[in-house]
Every structure is written in C-alpha cells, then in structure tokens.
C-alpha cells in the first residue's frame, strides 16, 4: 500500500483499546464512566456545553426580544443598556436574543455535518477495512483524491460553486469530513479484524453479519465516535467561517458567524459588541474539544 503523509498522523495504536474492551467485557463501559466521572475538568466542560445547547433550544424562554426585530433608534447600544443587557447590533436587534437564537443554526451546522459524515464515512471505512483487497483499494484511493483538497478549500469550493445557504453548507461540510472518518474507520477496522478473537469467532462458525455487528462494530464504534466528536469543534468553526464569508446561513437569520460578519464594520464604533458572537463560537468549539479529549482519555483511545 502506498502511504500518504496524513496517514502517519492518524496511526492508531488502538488494538490496545479493543483488547482492553474485549478483556473487560461488560465492565469496560462502567470503567470508562468511572474514569470520566473522576475527571472534574471534563465534567465541568460538559456542563457548560449542555448549558450552551439548552440555551439554544430554550431561546424563546431566555429573552423577551425577537432576534429579527430591528430598531433604528437602538443601534449599536453598548453592553449594559437598559432592556438590552448585551447591547444591540448594527440595526438595533437585541444582541442577547441573537446570541441564544444564533446557537440553534450554529450548533446545527456544526453537529449535523459530522453526524452525516459519520454515517457515510464510517460505513465506507468499516466496509473497506473489513473487506480488504480490491474493495479496500477502490474506496481508499478514491478518498485519497478528496484528501488532496485542504478541508476548508473543499467546503468553500462546494459552497462557492453551488451557492450559499444552510443546505449547501451542511452538504459541503459533510463531504469535507467524510475522508478523515473513512481513514480512521478503515484503520481501526483493519486492526480489529486481525485480532485473535475475531478469528476465533470466524473459526467457530459465525457468519459475516454477526461477526461485523457483534465483534467488529462493537469494538470499532468507540474510537470512531471519539474521533467524530473531535471533528465537531472544527465543524463549528468552519460552518461559522462559511457564514462569515457570506457562503453559509443567509441574513437576517441569527447565526454566530454571520453576526460576526455583519458587526464587522461596527468595530470602529463599539468593538466589544462587535466581537461578542466570536466568544460563543470559541467557547462552544473549545467545550467540544475538551469534552472529546476527556472522553478519549477515559476510553484510553489514542488518535
């Protein structure tokens, strides 16, 4: 097999993890939970993340303002203005309302592409890893081509050529995240497939379906999921980045990246308010990163 440079990045010494899981049997997940519960930083970060997600879901209950309602008289009010505690944006919309409502689209555009890519990329990777041979080469060599695009360029190319909008953003980001997920899934599956217990199961007469579902999938899903969670933070930054460029969510919808773009000229008038939406992108992406790190450590998976 010809190697590409990025492969070395993703070398996965995961059979250890698979072996630990196999050895501990049912107790493995209990173990992971215990270790996660002891990790105070990760628990704290997860709570912040839950708060961010809840604030987006419960947005109407957190603010009396309509995130779309403009006011010519209340433009670019500073933080602490009566009635608008986070101030207002360039056309007088309440910033707090737009921040909490903005979480809905930003989180959607961050999480959904990774989930879609996980389904497509994970399936392709597991199939490639399990089947080996020609199937493996066909899938992996096609993925190599997608890898030739720096991820953000691929997303920009798809959005830029097909046109802006939420649907194209999600499509573009999904395509962007398929290659790394295929690689990880293929690498993990190839390793698990060659382990003794899979061989033993095959020798004792279990069929392909059972083998895949029970022995392979049970052991590869953990590492693949952990890797996918680490992509969410990148996805949130990229999705907001696309909106920031004007390629993603279209105005007047509230979305953090788009808000950042709209408020950019206001930097000369009210720099603090203009920078606020970015804090949310940063916080959310950081929380996803730290959560993923924490889960990875608890599961002892190295990526």
């Amino acid at each position: 097999m010809v190697s590409t440079s990025s492969e070395t990045l993703l070398t996965l010494p995961t059979p250890d993890a698979a072996l630990t899981r196999a050895r501990h049997g049912r107790g493995y997940w209990k173990n992971v939970w215990r270790r996660l519960a002891e990790d105070r930083i990760t628990i704290a970060v997860m709570l912040v993340l839950i708060a961010i997600i809840l604030s987006a879901v419960l947005a109407p209950y957190l603010t009396p303002h309509d995130p779309m309602k403009t006011s010519v008289f209340a433009r670019l009010k500073p933080i602490g203005t009566a009635g608008h505690w986070l101030g207002t944006d360039e056309i007088g919309r309440d910033l707090w309302a737009r921040m909490v409502y903005g979480g809905r689209l930003s989180l959607l555009c961050g999480v959904l592409p990774v989930a879609l890519a996980l389904v497509v990329g994970g399936t392709l990777g597991v199939v490639a890893g399990y089947a080996g041979g020609v199937v493996n080469s066909a899938i992996m060599r096609s993925i190599d081509v997608l890898y030739a695009f720096p991820s953000i360029l691929l997303a920009i190319a798809i959005c830029g050529i097909l046109g802006s909008g939420i649907r194209n953003t999600i499509l573009a980001l999904s395509v962007t995240f398929i290659p790394p997920l295929v690689r990880i899934s293929e690498a993990v599956t190839t390793q698990v497939r060659s382990l003794d217990f899979v061989e033993a199961a095959r020798a004792s007469g279990s069929g392909t379906a059972l083998l895949l579902r029970y022995h392979v999938l049970n052991n590869v899903l953990g590492p693949i999921l952990v890797y996918a969670t680490s992509l969410i933070s990148i996805s949130i930054i990229l999705a907001s980045g696309l909106s920031f460029l004007g390629l993603g969510v279209s105005p007047p919808n509230p979305e953090w990246g788009l808000m950042l773009n709209n408020l950019r000229p206001a930097i000369w008038v009210n720099p603090v308010v203009a920078a606020l939406p970015g804090v949310m992108i940063f916080l959310t992406s950081m929380c996803f990163n730290l959560t993923s790190d924490g889960i990875r450590q608890a599961m002892d998976v190295r990526l």
């Binding site: 010809v2 190697s3 590409t4 440079s5 990025s6 070395t8 990045l9 070398t11 060599r141 096609s142 190599d144 081509v145 997608l146 030739a148 695009f149 720096p150 991820s151 953000i152 360029l153 920009i156 190319a157 798809i158 830029g160 050529i161 097909l162 046109g163 933070s233 930054i237 907001s240 980045g241 920031f244 460029l245 004007g246 390629l247 990246g257 950042l260 950019r264 930097i267 000369w268 720099p271 603090v272 203009a274 920078a275 939406p277 970015g278 992108i281 940063f282 992406s285 950081m286 990163n289 730290l290 790190d293 190295r302």
Partner: protein
Amino acid sequence: MLAYTLRRLLYGVPILLGVSVIVFALIQFAPGDAASLLIPPEAPKEVVDQVRAKLGLDKPVYVQYVLWLGRLVRGDLGVSIVTNMPVASELSNALGNTLMLAIPAALLGFTLGVGLGALAAFHRGTVLDRLFSATAIAGVSLPHYWVGIVLVAMFAVVFNALPAQGMGAPGFPRTWAQIRHLILPVITLSLIPMGVVSRLVRANVLEILSHEFVGSLRAKGLFRRRVLRHIMKNAAPSALALMGLQFGYLLAGSILVETVFNWPGSGGLLNLAIFRRDIPVLSGTIVTIAAIFVVINIAVDVLQALIDPRIRR
C-alpha cells in the same frame, strides 16, 4: 531513496487527475453556465449559440473536460469573465501575496508549536505543562477570523498602533511601513498551526520519553542536549507531516483571514470570484491550491523518508 521519491511523484498523478475531475464536476453542477453570465437574457438565440460555441459549451461534457484539462496542463487557467485578464497572471500575483502571509505565519506557528509542545512534555504535569496545553487547545478552538477582528479592535481601534487593513505598498516587504501591515494577519494565521503542532509534539515526545532507549541514553551518561536530539529526531517525521498539511491549510484557510484584513491574496481573489460568479477564476484558484497542496504533501513524504529510513518501503 530515489525509487521512493519517484513512486511518490507518480502517485501524485492520479490524485491530480482526480482533483481536476472533482473541480470540473463541481463547475458542471453550478447554476447557470459561463455563457449565461456573459449575455443578457433577452439576447437572440443565434447570439447565444455563437457565444456558447466560442466557449466550447456546445461540445459534449467529456470533450469539454479533456479540452479544459489540456489547457490546465499547459498552465492556461482561462480568462476571467469579469476582468478579462488571464486567470494565471491574476492568481500568481495573489498567491505571492498569500505566501507573504503564509510563510512567516508557518515559521512562527511551527517554531512556537514545537517549542511549547516539547517544553510541555519535558515538564509533564507541572504548571508550565498545563499553561502550554491550555494555550494549545485555545489555539485549535479559536475561530481565527474572530481573533483577527479582536486584534484589529485592540491594536488598530483602541491603541491605534497598527494598520487594520490592506498591505500598504505592493511588493516584497522591505520597509517598516510594509512590515507593519503584516504583523496582525501573520499572528492571526499562526495560531492554528501553533496549537495543532504543539499538541502533536507534546503527545509524540511523551510517547518517546516512555521508551526504554531514552533511559539507556541517559544511563550511558549522554549530555541532556544529545538526548534531546535523539528524542526530537524521533518526534520529527510525524510533526513534519502535520506541518505539511498545516501549510496547505494556511494557503487555503487564509481566505478567512484575508477577508478580515482585506489582504489582496488568493483567498481574497477566491472570495471575489465567488460573489462575481467568475467561474474561471474560481476553478483556476481551487485547482492551483489543491495542486500545491498535493506537491507539498509529496515533498513532506520524501522529507520524512530522508529523516526516518523506516518509512522507505
């Protein structure tokens, strides 16, 4: 070694072909073809046919692809619909400006990344480690376009110390006035490579430190500096691979930073092309950056093999 290099180069050919197919396919999916952008909708059918024939749009898709690819190979990226300038010349100017940001940003990010990552690993568990690891994770989680805005707000708006936009006088930066324009965008761009590289280097060095050979080297009475050299040499290949990828991301990802700073680079060109629906500029830029990325990756692979002979298979 030569055989390995040749093999990697040859492997680049199908990849580049694949890249060209994907970009061409994307253009085909684009709403409206090049002709519809050039002619008013009320134009008579003969004129439309004439323009379409002139652009080669009346030929079957695969013929169009082969012709397009033939021009690409000869370095002809077409002519911009908006400015009527050859895309290649517009792009080479813009790419030069982008490199002016990307190279210093890469140097800064990689140096800091390797330094912080190695220091954190050698002082594992100390306050220093926590501080550097926190810096690294912030570096990967920060939306760098936002950092650019914050830096502009601080240094241009509040302190009025550095220019907020543009690159000043064009050309290679020689004067302080030109270098001043570089400072904020370069710092902004260097954050992600700094974070990513330092995380990898820390993990790598920790892994290597756990090997027995490090203990033997120390037991042998080798100077710390020499032990360090052994460790860094082992950590180098995967770090290099990552740097290659990151440099590619710098070229492509600069679109966001260039938008923030109004920098006339390839990202700015791409952004402009998207909104003017200038497909030749768009496809030319994308193909060129992807091709550069492929070449960088091959170069990194060869470099890796030079450092670590185990890679030459």
